[in-house]
Symmetry: C2
Subunit: 140 residues, 2 copies
């Protein structure tokens, strides 16, 4: 049996975050000692590991909830899990596309100015003042 602090050390998830996960229903309520402190078993450790990994991969709490549901009903098709993963992949690719456009503009803006003029004619500031300077469509 682990205390919340030991669970935290083993998974790298902070103690208040573990309590938060319990609060929002991502972790099943842990057993308690007589003095009301949480105690976890190997199962709890594994579930938190799963959550941690999925969060690292950018899955939302909602998506992780759905995935955990699926885990607990092994008879159900895993099509839903695949869909969630593919949605997440599409999200990531969209973000990559946008960030790449931002990078292009920021390079242009940063390189246009050597930083030693007065801000009166700073290229950074004039670029930001007018979207028409941009070479790509960007937005986040």
């Amino acid at each position: 049996m682990f205390s919340i602090g030991q669970l935290s050390k083993q998974t790298g998830v902070k103690v208040p975050t573990i309590r938060y996960y319990e609060q929002v229903g991502l972790l099943v309520s842990a057993g308690r000692t007589e003095g009301n402190q949480r105690r976890y078993d190997k199962d709890g450790l594994e579930r938190l590991g799963f959550i941690r990994h999925a969060r690292d991969l950018g899955f939302s709490i909602e998506a992780i909830s759905a995935l955990i549901d699926l885990q607990q009903h092994p008879d159900r098709s895993c099509q839903e899990a695949t869909e969630i993963a593919q949605d997440q992949l599409a999200d990531v690719r969209e973000k990559l596309r946008r960030l790449t456009a931002l990078e292009t503009e920021l390079v242009r803006i940063s390189e246009g100015c050597d930083g030693d003029g007065s801000s009166n004619d700073c290229y950074v500031l004039t670029s930001l003042a007018d979207h028409r300077h941009c070479r790509t469509e960007h937005y986040c």
Copy 2:
């Protein structure tokens, strides 16, 4: 003179967002009609355009505040503006690096499963359960 709705249409910034920008000090308080409605001039329009563009490029409200300060003191060096832009670029590149790693893992996870098995041995779920399956270090 423009109403807040006209300003919104011209810049693409939503009305409540314009009020929010005023509230946090990003936009100077607008003049008002006798009936207490905001009225903007060309200056206000340009400032909001600047903010919109900078937000699209991912600058934080705080960074934009600093940039606007610089704009209003044309005698000050623009080094600070360049630094802000370069910090932002570094941020974007870091995010790109992480998202690229995520993409790699998500492709691996998504492709490992054709979605027609039972969730009992779903590759998506087992991958998420164990970080050791991953080929790269990823986290967001």
